[in-house]
Symmetry: C2
Subunit: 243 residues, 2 copies
DNA sequence: AATTTTAAACGTCATAATTACGTTTGTTTT
DNA sequence: AAAACAAACGTAATTATGACGTTTAAAATT
């Protein structure tokens, strides 16, 4: 019953960041660069991940990885899939270790995604050489991490239509058009502004503030906030057949 | 980097079975019974699960477990969550092994759920002492398996509203009322028959057959089938904001 | 100070979907 | 032939959606 193979447990984190300025959904990736005497072995990007410590929960492990990468805690986090096929590799650290020892390793990774605002992350003197990439313009990606990113993205697209996680990617005070831009960026579709506006304003959990944008060079837009309290009250124990 | 703890990788399977006769959603559980010289140590029910073999994918492992339990293959399967907190135990086999050796084991389980019809499973002379339990009347459940079942159930409730997995739980030819009963069983709600009927019949992927029920003691109902082909054509690359 | 520019905000209308009910129909059983 | 009853059909008010046109308010320009 015991495995002769060495089993390695890790978490990998797909960090989604929305950039309000460029109106783009981005993924935070770190550089993987290995060279031997004469040739470059790998030169691509990968997700951040790490071994799960012995006395650490999976969730805590993901939270730790995010914190080391971005300095942030308390961001929206979702465990969305485990990847553990016998032939998969992952994570720069694992690879180095494999080269020193033997190749008889199986890495199971529990994949999480996070939602946050790019503006909340300071990438200056980041020890991982981390960089944001638009979800639609990913670079060369190592291991099976592109697959992981795309599965996270699919999950996000579905999730953002059924739960109000979108607001984790916006400032506390936002305009209707900012919400629309965000939906368009995530879903990759165009939405009619007038219909979207009407629909969103009619939601009881979208609350108009006594404030407008400042410092814009056109007519300043009305600011709104999202009320999680009202949302929760509305959706407790309600399911609707929408198929 | 290497773990002093022994890491154990397993799959656990939540097998949902719908019973058309009793109109109930059930979970297939196996008996866990261990007794020492004088006392009963455990006497409850657990999910089926097993260690993941060295050269086996996670999906294949779950498929194998289902086959050993039910004899069935090609049923709807979904990997929905990994459970791997450092203090968790699982699976009768693990426990026996732990008692013989030391307690320094961490079991990470990749949890799957399956959807099938209870009538497709023959529980006669089942080596696991397996039994169906209505989702709303679960027995005493061992380890953290009740949590796993409830999370699978939540996932199923959401999933059955956005994808046509419901038809995996029905015969190929079904009546409108059977579909309604199933939705009601899964979601735990009452649905207006007249509105439900109209809505379902209007779906292009619900096809009326030239057949009616036979051997019923009231007016026999019209039979319908679900067309996956038509469904796929309709929903390729379509997202709608329904929040 | 008036005009232009432009995003924000509002309006309309036809169609489709939903909710909440009442009524009829077609078998089987009595 | 009548009763029983689930199946199946119908209706009307309300709400949501999709596809557009129009107006407004502030800033920038003239």
């Amino acid at each position: 019953m015991k495995s002769e193979k060495i089993l390695n447990l890790s978490v990998d984190c797909v960090v989604f960041g929305y950039d309000t300025n460029t109106k783009s959904l981005n993924v935070l990736l770190i550089k993987r660069f290995l060279e031997s005497e004469k040739e470059i072995l790998v030169d691509d990007y990968v997700l951040t991940g790490y071994h799960v410590y012995n006395n650490e929960t999976l969730d805590d492990s993901a939270t730790r990885v995010l914190k080391e990468l971005t300095g942030l805690t308390n961001q929206y986090k979702k465990q969305f899939k485990a990847f553990g096929n016998p032939d998969r590799l992952t994570n720069p650290k694992d690879l180095i270790w494999i080269e020193n020892e033997e190749f008889n390793l199986r890495t199971v990774t529990i994949a999480y995604y996070f939602l946050l605002k790019t503006e909340d992350v300071d990438l200056k003197d980041n020890k991982f050489d981390a960089k944001w990439f638009p979800i639609n313009a990913l670079p060369e990606i190592g291991f099976d991490h592109e697959k992981i990113i795309l599965e996270a993205y699919e999950d996000l697209k579905v999730k953002c239509l059924s739960e109000p996680i979108i607001f984790k990617l916006l400032p506390d005070k936002f305009t209707i058009n900012e919400v629309q831009d965000l939906y368009q960026s995530i879903l990759g579709i165009e939405i009619d502004n007038r219909n979207f506006r009407r629909k969103l304003i009619n939601k009881k959990y979208i609350i108009a503030l006594d404030e407008k944008q400042v410092g814009v060079s056109k007519k300043p837009a009305q600011l709104y906030m999202f009320s999680m309290d009202i949302y929760n009250k509305m959706f407790s124990k309600n399911y609707l057949i929408s198929m």
